[in-house]
């Protein structure tokens, strides 16, 4: 139908996964030897081009957005734990806003299709 749904689906899926990872970092803020992790997003905009009906047109080839969980290598404290509570809370807020933006856009997209069907 349209790549928009796939892009939004991936965005929502990955921000949800990132929320889980941030939640486990916050839960383990005082656990000795725990290493903070983060979700690195793949290249969402790589090759995100428009449909080509003419060789001069740009191409549209959306690839699934991938998320990779990596261990952070920031400065460790004496208990060999490298979770920074302030950073994690800030990232959680940012991530939740991104998630809600994804949901809002998906909602608008569904409304657009509904309107188109009604007329």
């Amino acid at each position: 139908m349209s790549d928009g749904f796939r892009i939004l689906e991936d965005l929502i899926r990955l921000t949800n996964m990132r929320h889980g990872v941030i939640a486990s970092n916050i839960a383990n803020v005082d656990t000795p030897n725990y290493k903070a992790r983060e979700v690195k997003f793949g290249q969402i905009f790589e090759g995100m081009e428009l449909k080509a009906t003419n060789p001069k047109h740009l191409k549209n080839s959306y690839q699934d957005l991938s998320g990779e969980i990596v261990t952070k290598t920031t400065q460790e404290g004496v208990d060999k734990n490298n979770v920074n509570l302030d950073t994690e809370v800030a990232k959680m807020t940012e991530n939740a806003m991104l998630y809600q933006a994804g949901i809002s856009m998906l909602s608008i997209k569904i409304r657009m299709f509904k309107n188109a069907l009604r007329r």
Binding site: G20, A23, A27, Q100, L106
Partner: protein, 137 residues
């Protein structure tokens, strides 16, 4: 990924920090207890946290659990107080190895971690409520 994992993770952190708070409260309350059931003055206790994979969680999402309540074996503080019933023949009393300042700092850290988990919980709830709105346009 089970969508409700975040709630379990936050709940495990709230439980663990709550237990830490109990231990700190017990340390503070017994800062001057010279007699215990085990005999001798009260010894400071501390919680040991460990990250755990929760039952319904895949490996990447870890909760936290109190695996042990350890006893601090640092020496007792010797206070000169000849009038105390537990004073030895030189007039010294063995007082618990508790430093109130240290306990206060621990308490603040526990409270901050607890608050962070509460806000994670609320944030997760807000995200889910927003998702539920998708159905009703």
């Amino acid at each position: 990924m089970n969508s409700f994992i975040v709630f379990e993770i936050s709940a495990s952190a709230l439980g663990a920090q709550g237990q830490r708070m109990n231990v700190i409260a017990s340390n503070m309350a017994n800062a001057h207890s010279t007699r215990t059931q085990e005999g001798g003055p009260y010894r400071r206790k501390d919680v040991v946290f460990s990250s755990v994979v929760l039952d319904s969680c895949p490996g990447e999402f870890k909760g936290v659990k109190v695996v042990d309540i350890a006893t601090d074996n640092t020496p007792f503080k010797m206070v000169y107080d000849p009038g105390h019933p537990d004073a030895d023949k030189d007039g010294h009393v063995a007082m618990p190895n508790i430093n109130i300042i240290e306990e206060m700092v621990n308490m603040m850290m526990a409270s901050r971690a607890y608050e962070a988990s509460v806000s994670t919980f609320n944030m997760s709830k807000a995200m889910f409520m927003k998702t539920l709105e998708l159905g009703r346009l």
